[in-house]
């Protein structure tokens, strides 16, 4: 082994920083899935009948799906079959009957957990203007800056709270972008989702702070199924951040979330994710299965939805944040950095569905593979008949560190309108010995050189992130790369 690979190998040994477990009393449902469990979840949440009916419809559909083709098999990932009867579908930290009314009533252990993760839920302590909704296992434990936001008419709360207080908005928009029949995991989520965030920005309001949801899986053997719904009414703007971590466990845990975004006329939604679920250990044992459906719909004219994701965690990532560009002149963007190290697998990308006239989309995907990691970009650009003057630009770059990893690109194009323009560029490169030697010759250590080269490679994506997030993402890439190039 050359010196170079030794240094990089040595870097591998950094532990996952967020791997601790919070010892807290929980209220959990028994293992397994059936209609009673769904009724239990629904009643725990005091849901109205329409919600329970929707869940049951989804569940019955899922049962059919499971019996026929089961999980989607087309993704370029490998994992043993999941026993859906061995998962706990509801787990919540025990709390007073009516739930916490203010931050003072939240269990200090929970607050401590989020402090440890660098998420302060105490409003006074927050320096930057970010409102946070913290989700712990199956429930939202606290949402900050609620009052300040409500002065502007912005609703930012736990999903279950929205079901109770804003049932009309839920009825109108839930499942309008990702129907309960959409795909195996989205259907499962529709049946058993436990909480998540809800956000509504009223007409003409520019949300003055970043809204953020922080997801934390704590309990063993639980699945996390959250649902996020963001509606940007006419002429409004919101920037939304999502972060996530989980303890280190040697069994795999399922995370099957659904995110729906709706942008009406002239509205803009910017959705940024830093996904740092536990990736499993160096031998590939344990870790989160991150099977997520994220989709936005540019319903209105001149609307814009922009996805930015930095995916460094999870044992397996299966995720395609997409845009349905329905309104005229609407814009969809997808900026992605996906990093796989050790035995991580990622099959990620996007779908840009052009329906409206003069719709535009941009896809910038940066895949980094190290160790035995397998990284797949899968993207669809579909231009329908009516999408006159539609344009798409896609760029997919892969960077390989070492020779045991893999990068794969599957771009799909379906163009049904001759006035449209579609461009696709792709490249694969390796961090070369030449680059490393050049850096070292200037006094820079191998690990700093790798970080620098990787961050340079991702720059076009990282600069799309809000400032605080960009810094975190850069650090995270560094940590996640430790032990690359074998």
């Amino acid at each position: 082994m050359s010196n170079q690979s030794k240094t990089i190998e040595a870097l591998a040994n950094q532990e996952y920083k967020y791997g601790f477990v919070t010892d807290i009393e929980t209220d959990s449902a028994p293992r397994g899935l059936n209609e009673d469990i769904i009724r239990l979840i629904s009643s725990k949440k005091n849901e109205p009948q329409f919600m329970l009916d929707w869940r049951l419809k989804a569940y019955r559909h899922w049962v059919k799906m499971e019996k026929s083709e089961g999980e989607p098999k087309w993704a370029n990932v490998k994992y043993p079959p999941i026993d859906y009867q061995d998962i706990i579908y509801y787990s919540a930290p025990k709390q007073k009957a009516d739930g916490p009314k203010s931050l003072d009533e939240v269990d200090p252990k929970l607050l401590e957990t989020f402090e440890k993760l660098g998420i302060s839920l105490s409003e006074q302590k927050r320096l930057s203007g970010i409102a946070v909704d913290a989700v712990f296992d199956s429930v939202s434990v606290a949402t900050t800056f609620k009052e300040k936001l409500s002065e502007l008419g912005i609703i930012f709360c736990a999903f279950s709270e929205a079901v109770e207080n804003h049932p009309d908005l839920i009825k109108k928009y839930l499942g309008s972008v990702v129907p309960y029949t959409d795909n195996f995991f989205a259907t499962l989520n529709s049946a058993v989702f436990t909480d998540g965030s809800f956000c509504y920005i009223p007409k003409g309001v520019r949300c003055p702070m970043e809204l953020s949801t922080y997801f934390r899986i704590n309990q063993a053997d639980t699945g996390q199924f959250e649902r996020t719904l963001i509606i940007a009414d006419e002429g409004s703007y919101v920037s939304y951040l999502e972060g996530c971590t989980a303890p280190m466990r040697d069994t795999n845990q399922l995370h099957a979330a659904v995110v729906e975004l709706i942008a009406l006329d002239n509205a803009q939604i910017k959705y940024s994710t830093i996904q740092n679920w536990y990736p499993g250990d160096k031998e590939g044992k344990g870790g989160i299965y991150n099977f997520v459906t994220k989709r936005g719909k540019c319903v209105g004219k001149n609307s814009k939805i922009s996805w930015t994701q930095v995916e460094t965690g999870s044992a397996i990532t299966w995720k395609y944040p997409s845009c349905i560009l329905q309104g005229e002149n609407s814009i969809g963007e997808f900026y992605s950095v996906a990093l796989t190290n050790n035995y991580q697998q990622a099959d990620t990308g996007t779908k840009m569905i052009h329906l409206g006239k003069n719709t535009r989309s941009t896809i910038i995907s940066k895949g980094i593979s190290a160790g035995h990691g397998q990284n797949t970009y899968r993207g669809l650009v579909k231009i329908l008949k009516g999408a006159t003057g539609a344009r798409n630009y896609s760029q997919c770059d892969s960077l390989l560190l070492g020779d045991k990893c893999g990068a794969h690109t599957f771009p799909y194009l379906e163009v049904n309108n001759s006035t449209s323009q579609v461009e696709h560029e792709a490249s694969t490169s390796k961090i070369g010995e030449d680059q490393l030697f050049y850096c070292k010759q200037r006094g820079i250590s191998a690990e700093d050189a790798v970080n620098m080269i990787v961050n340079g490679f991702c720059k076009t994506v990282l600069r799309e992130l809000p400032m605080e997030f960009a810094v975190e993402a850069q650090k995270l890439l560094g940590v996640s790369l430790e032990g690359s190039v074998g």
Binding site: E433, Q435, K440, Q441, G443, M452, I453, G456, K459, T460
Partner: protein, 256 residues
């Protein structure tokens, strides 16, 4: 400052350096010349610590230390600088950012405080003037889309910023037109100092019209076969390398 004794090195199974001896003192400029494939660039890379070359015999003492024992980044931090013949591109990383990382790694190694952005940029501004380096160029990703001349100028600029004790210039003149060559040479001359030694590796004499060496060495077949003053370079220019080959073959018939 630098003492090379009986240095042998190979790539794969091919022995390229077959016993180099060379002594360089602070303040001196040595030109190393020789035909293609003679081992000039290999010598530069072995001194900088390139891992693909294997040293099979000999030693290199630099500032009283065993240079060959140090990993490449440590050599750089101890003041060894290599201006590359083919500088690499690093997309997304600006020259400024890259150099700041280098400067601070070196300062840290020497027990100095790291420079903050303001002090660093002030220092960089000074050095830019010496090689007529454009601000726009150093804000661009390192060497990406640079012309041949710009890349070489960037190497000399980096040398100025990193302020090495021993600078090795590996065919810095190759691929340059006369104007670019002058700019690069002027930069090199500006960075000459009694505390700094330079090893200028070149195939052609013309660079030595602008950088006047104290000594000229000719490498042939992995050995230094002739050393002399500036006049030796002119002699080579006039006669080519063939007369030397003949001379060497007479003296050491086993090589051929």
């Amino acid at each position: 400052m630098l003492e090379i004794r009986n240095l042998h090195a190979k790539v794969g199974n091919t022995e390229i350096l077959r016993g180099i001896d060379l002594t360089v003192h602070a303040g001196e400029v040595h030109a190393v010349m020789g035909p293609n494939g003679s081992g000039k660039s290999t010598l530069a890379h072995v001194l900088a610590g390139r891992e693909s070359y294997e040293v099979t015999a000999g030693e290199v003492i630099y500032e009283g230390k065993d240079l060959l024992k140090m990993p490449p980044e440590e050599r750089a931090r101890e003041g060894v600088f290599l201006a590359f013949q083919y500088p690499v591109e690093i997309p997304g990383v600006s020259t400024t950012y890259f150099l700041k990382a280098g400067v601070n790694a070196i300062r840290k190694h020497r027990g100095l405080e790291e420079l903050d952005a303001i002090d660093f940029l002030a220092m960089v501004k000074e050095k830019m003037k010496l090689v007529e380096m454009d601000q726009a160029l150093i804000n661009r990703p390192l060497n990406e889309g640079f012309s041949g001349g710009e890349k070489k100028r960037n190497e000399i600029f980096q040398m100025g910023v990193l302020d090495p004790k021993l600078a090795i210039l590996d065919e810095t003149d190759s691929g340059l037109d006369i104007d670019a060559l002058k700019i690069v040479a002027n930069g090199v001359n500006a960075f000459r100092s009694p505390a700094r030694a330079m090893l200028v590796i070149t195939h052609y004499q013309r660079l030595l019209n602008y950088i006047i060496p104290d000594y000229v060495h000719v490498i042939f077949d992995g050995r230094i076969v002739k050393s002399g003053g500036k006049a030796l370079a002119l002699e080579l220019e006039e006669k080519g390398y063939d007369w030397l080959k003949a001379e060497v073959e007479v003296a050491q018939p086993t090589i051929a």
